[in-house]
Amino acid sequence: MRDQTVRRFLRFVALGSTITLIAACATPTQPAAEPTQPPAAAQPTQPPEAPTAAPAPGVVVVPPGGKIRIGGSFALTGPIPDPGKDIRQGAEIAIDDANAAGGVNGFLFELVAEDGACSGDQGTVVANKFAADPTIVAVTGGTCSGETFGLKPILQRARIPFVSPSATNPAITSEDCDVCNRVALSDALQGEVDAEFVYKQLGLRKVAVMHDSSDYGKGVAEIFRDAFIKLGGEVVAFEGAQVGDTDFRAILTRIATNAPELLFFGGYSTEAALITQQMKEVAGLQNTKFLGTDGAYTQQYLDTAGVAAEGAFMSYVAGDTQADKLAAFREKYIAKFGIEPEKLGPFHAQSYDSVLLIVDAIKRVARVDSAGNLIIDREALIKAIRETKDLAGITGTLTCSPIGECGAGGVQVFTVENGQFKQVYGFGLKQ
């Protein structure tokens, strides 16, 4: 009886894994097949002679009346749903503005929003979906670094350019990836400024470093650790938790034995808030200061941590915000969604600019063929995004570097005072 059940179960598992294998093989072959063609074929075969023939791979043909589809990978579920939603809504405003300005040669834009869930796994799923869709011109996103690492190789193979508004891990952009771009500033900068702030401004010499084992959290924690040691400080502990953990007392108890003056945490809102709270419950950490990073620079952090957050520090990769543009943006945002963007998350303006960057580049490469179709060659678009220069966005004047760093601005550090963030250090601080 039991043997039979086991055998039946095994057969079931075998069948299931076969199906999964087949599915897994089927998906990547599609994008993989595409890129073999375009570099050679795209330029010569495309011109007006063959407007009705099937388009070359990598060339998006929008028929008259069709929409220009821009994919979006947003962390709508996962650890930071509110910032994810904020980023999606920022992108929608940008699409609205582009359409209100007439689109491109009369063709309007459309945002195809998917849930990247702030995870590499889900980023892969979203990227495969976009790679398999020949109507997707470019992608804005992902929200988190891990998610964007999921997008990166697949979109690179499928030759779809992307611009991330908020993924800050340094390795998101690299020499070998010509489709990878971002508006957010790299954590290479954030980690260093944070270390300087702690060492020079606060004058502390002994810190503990914690992270949530995510690509983002661990990445920024390592940069901070190295920068702090380089300045001459001492890092007494370097510990990892997991995204989704809720009880950090065991780790904190261990960290407390080294009596650090400050605890640095690379990670997202909920974990940062719970750590701030539980530090008050661990003997030896009650007076230790806390410094979190942009992933936790949210209203959600303040709401969750409550009074425990008072006096905590938080750093953020701020744009070179243009006050008048931001005000106009906020007005439209509030009118459309009925909520102030800051209540959800910090990256709405970067998200607007990500879409702006894509739209601007599309305008430069798109052309109309004799049948009235709009033709967008993604290879040309990849180059056009990189060539962006002096584009006036909400977060400053955007110019893309040769490896796709397009953001402007600097790192800011805030402290929590009466339940609100107040800037105390860094970029654009008015004294």
Binding site: G78, S213, R249, I251, E281
Partner: protein, 355 residues
């Protein structure tokens, strides 16, 4: 029945394999012990550190124990793993969140200590009640129709029910974590020398002991408990003796789920947040604890849970490895225990058949 099969399977394995397994297991344990002793001697954490970690471990173990009891009760009677049990805990936690909001709105929690304690008790009962209702409904809808189906069917049904509950909560209440505002009465803690014990942790541990004690009394001393044990021993014979098997099984789910609900509320108060997937990991750990202690055995679930909680909090420091590997330690303990005692720490031929 399962014990018999396991025992015969062990015999079939033959002596050399069993010996090899045991030698390997003993070597691993010895290595771990040597490492632990050398590390604790070398890094010389103060005694207060070990005391604080023991407190953390006991609190964690208390939560695991409450959830593990549900697994063990259901397994004892139906020989089935209720994989949706972690989600019952989560729903208890969600109910507790709304209970707490309501109690706060009624001004119960800010006033005198007595009123606040009463309010908290009401919140706890509300969470337990909702969880109990969820558990009974779960049994009625997802398991009873499959009671005579092959054993794989209710297992798959349980996994389906688990996903259904998770995503229902996600759709209804959204993805944002629900934040428990800890009432002032239990916001602080007790200072024992240099060790700080959060009140919520103390409450978890004491309540767990109390609830487990009452469970033991119910199962061993009451008529319903006797009926439960009879159904566990032999469903058909119990039915022939006039025991209403359906009712007894429903009651079992009610008890187990109420305990899980209590765990959900207390976890919310202790850690501060509950969201749609909050039940998954604790559920998995509690299941591990139940197996570790000997599934189907009530004291076993408790012992297993405390061992697991302590292994997780003390293990990384004792072995001198990063804290992020605590799960590896927890599951290594499970594997080692199962190598030496396949039926768990307290599980045995006779005991296992008792609920």
């Amino acid at each position: 029945m399962t014990t018999l099969i396991r025992a015969s399977a062990a015999q079939q394995q033959g002596k050399p394999l069993r010996l090899a397994k045991r030698v390997l297991g003993a070597a691993l344990i010895a290595a771990a012990l040597v490492r632990a002793i050398s590390v604790s001697a070398a890094e010389s954490y103060p005694l207060s550190f070990w005391a604080a970690q023991t407190v953390n471990g006991l609190v964690l173990g208390g939560v695991y124990a409450l959830v593990a009891l549900g697994y063990t009760l259901v397994y004892g009677i139906l020989l089935m793993i209720n994989f949706a049990h972690g989600e019952v805990m989560m729903i208890g936690g969600v109910a507790g969140f709304f209970g707490l909001q309501l109690a706060a709105a009624l001004g119960l929690l800010g006033g005198s200590s007595l009123a606040a304690a009463l309010g908290l008790l009401l919140v706890l009962s509300f969470g337990m009640g909702v969880a109990a209702l969820t558990g009974v409904t779960l049994e009625r809808v997802a398991y009873r129709p499959l009671r005579n189906a092959p054993r794989l069917a209710p297992l798959i049904s349980a996994i389906g029910a688990s996903l259904f509950m998770q995503y229902s909560v996600l759709l209804i209440f959204g993805v944002r974590p629900m934040v428990y505002q800890r009432p002032p009465l239990i916001a602080d803690g007790i200072r024992l020398g240099v060790v700080f014990i959060p009140l919520t942790g103390l409450i978890i541990f004491v309540t767990s002991l109390l609830l487990m004690g009452s469970l033991f009394v119910i199962v061993q001393r009451t008529k319903l408990g006797r009926a439960m044990r009879a159904v566990a021993a032999d469903k058909e014979a119990a039915a022939l003796m006039g025991v209403d098997v359906n009712q007894v099984i429903a009651f079992t789910f009610l008890l187990g789920s109420a305990l899980a609900g209590a765990a959900g509320v207390m976890l919310g108060l202790h850690n501060g947040v509950i969201k749609f997937n909050s039940g998954f990991i604790p559920g998995l750990k509690a299941f591990t604890a139940a197996v570790l202690g000997g599934i189907g055995n009530i004291p076993g679930a408790m012992v297993g849970a405390l061992v697991l909680g302590l292994a997780e909090s003390l293990g990384p420091s004792a072995l001198g490895i990063p804290a992020e590997y605590r799960d590896i330690i927890a599951f290594s303990v499970l594997v080692l225990v199962l190598v030496f005692r396949p039926s768990g720490l307290l599980g045995g031929g006779e005991v296992e058949k008792r609920a």
